[in-house]
Amino acid sequence: MSIPRTIIEKIWDAHVVSQQEGAPALLYIDLQLVHEVTSPQAFDGLRARGLKVRRPDLTFGTVDHSTPTTPRSLPILDPVAAAQVARLESNCTEFGIPFFGFHSPDQGVVHVIGPEQGLTQPGMTVVCGDSHTATHGAFGALAFGIGTSEVEMVLATQCLLQRPSRSFKVEVSGALKPGVSAKDIILALIARIGVSGGTGSVFEFRGAAIGALSMEERMTVCNMAIEGGARAGLVAPDDTTYQYLAGRPFAPKGAEWDRALARWNALPTGDGAVYDREVSMDAGELEPMITFGTNPGMGIPVSGVVPDPAGVADAAERGALVKALSYMGLAPGQPLAGQPIDVVFIGSCTNGRMADMRAAAGVLQGRKVSPKVRVLVVPGSQQVKRQAEAEGLDRIFREAGAEWREPGCSMCIAMNGDQLAPGQYSVSTSNRNFEGRQGKGGRTFLASPLTAAASAVMGAVADVRTLA
């Protein structure tokens, strides 16, 4: 009998093209997604070497980071951003790569459109010049972010030189309580293991609480694997995965679907397979989570208080906490609930899908956002936007006093003009609370769409479970 393998090992083994003495494995890549920010220098590299894109049929492009979220009838006002968007489109055209341009009816955030189109499938290796590529791991794919040199390598060869990662089992048992969501699972994990806890590893999320999540919720969990230091995170495919995939434009059809299904069903980790590391959590014990500091590991339950540096033994950790609290303008021991805020951002590759729009709209229906707060709701894609509008969610957002905008990365990365002013506070459904991430001097509290919507109503950090 062969040794039982994890899903991570199975995908890895199936993609090793060659393994030469003294060199990393040559790993085949099934799908590369490209966007405007991390690809132009890679295409320049190809031109300089006189190389073609080896497999345009395994490559797909879109624009999302630098694009404004104002109506598409308006031009891109920032000439530098406009040039970058135009360059992605001209590069894709020159090299024969299909893409959704700025005016495409299917444009969206790269990690939203891949799954939406059925491009992301179980057992695949997926890369993109973007650290949130782990999102695609929700389908049981080995998906990870790469730098621009590696983007060029994959464009030229469809391969990457890689050393295997360690496997890290994240077992989430139990069931989430009302008001607690997928975002809270991942924020709680990162608060526990820290932002480098998963370095060198790939997470496999499993357990009853993960099995009960929808595909969109699983994407939220996998999306932030990198925030725990892991390049990738994944969930083994199951019926939830297959139901989501069936009928999507690029999903296999007919007899091909049946053959694919047989392959996919063989992916889950074998009984008795050994992981390099393990951690377990009980979803039933989780509360809505929120970050208070300047990295995603600085998170607490929304009903909690800001930690006191005096209670931290390690000098480096204590110093980091002092610096973070100073940047955030928060005092040790203060409750975060009730902390006034200026902006709420609902969107991003973490929480810009239909489930997130519905969750936020459910809170805002029949309520008004605080007049002191600007609320941006940014759907993750044109498809999400259309679906939300078909369900009347845009009306709920507008009537509540929120802005309903065009798709893109928007205030998650603040490259497109959607940004905080210095000193402003946001509650954001995005993935990073680094200094200046949402605009120079801006202060970010990361949370779920439910927490963000409740905070929008209260004009302050709020617990959705206590909303009147």
Partner: protein, 202 residues
């Protein structure tokens, strides 16, 4: 690529853990389609005030930091985004090595592709280096890639880990695309036995 052999330099210290790529180069500078001109944007928001004037209390603005080719920093350096603009900015500023107890995975890969050595040292070595640096900011450290050693002025050599393949590429001054292009036969053979997963062309 130039061959990377050895060099000596004094250090500049940014002692903080989890220095993320948004600090190394803020996202608003990523709208460029070029690799050039990023050295001036390195640590921009720590380095310059709201008017764009250098902040006197930030180490890269200190006269002693000029010409330093080694950055001494904390755990998990380069966490966050996959932007290769981070090592581009560091090398264009003049850094050739970053010394830290640990690095984020993607940053480490990106650094190696750009002849920027991510040198992992133990906690005690890190503390020793910092102490020596604080006592004498102009203290020169030699980094010898051939011998895989960080060499102190006392002559003491400290071995550092580095991927053997990456080390070979750096010493030979070649990037790895050529190596992979050379495996065309293996790639074609793999493609011939590979089961179709997706066709983005429809």
């Amino acid at each position: 690529m130039n061959k990377f052999t050895q060099f000596a330099s004094h250090m500049v210290a940014i002692i903080a853990d989890n220095v993320d790529t948004d600090q190394i180069i803020p996202a608003r500078f990523l709208k460029t389609i070029s690799k050039e001109g990023l050295g001036d944007q390195l640590f921009y928001d720590w380095r310059y005030d709201a008017e764009g004037k250098p902040k006197a209390d930030f180490i890269l603005n200190h006269p002693l930091a000029k010409q330093a080719q080694i950055l001494l920093t904390g755990n998990n350096f380069g966490c966050g985004s996959s932007r290769e603009h981070a090592p581009w900015a560091l090398t264009q500023y003049g850094f050739r090595a970053v010394v830290a107890p640990s690095f984020a995975d993607i940053f480490k890969q990106n650094a190696l592709k750009n002849s920027l050595l991510p040198i992992e040292v133990s906690r005690p070595t890190h503390e020793l280096l910092l102490q020596m640096h604080l006592e004498n900011p102009m203290l020169r450290v030699r980094i010898d890639l051939e011998k895989q050693r960080l060499i102190l002025p006392t002559g003491q050599g400290i071995k550092f880990p580095i991927d053997e393949f990456a080390r070979r590429c750096l010493l030979d001054g070649v990037d790895d695309i050529g190596y992979v292009l050379g495996q065309e036969a293996a790639i074609a053979a793999y493609e011939a036995r590979r089961e179709l997963a997706v066709n983005t062309l429809g």
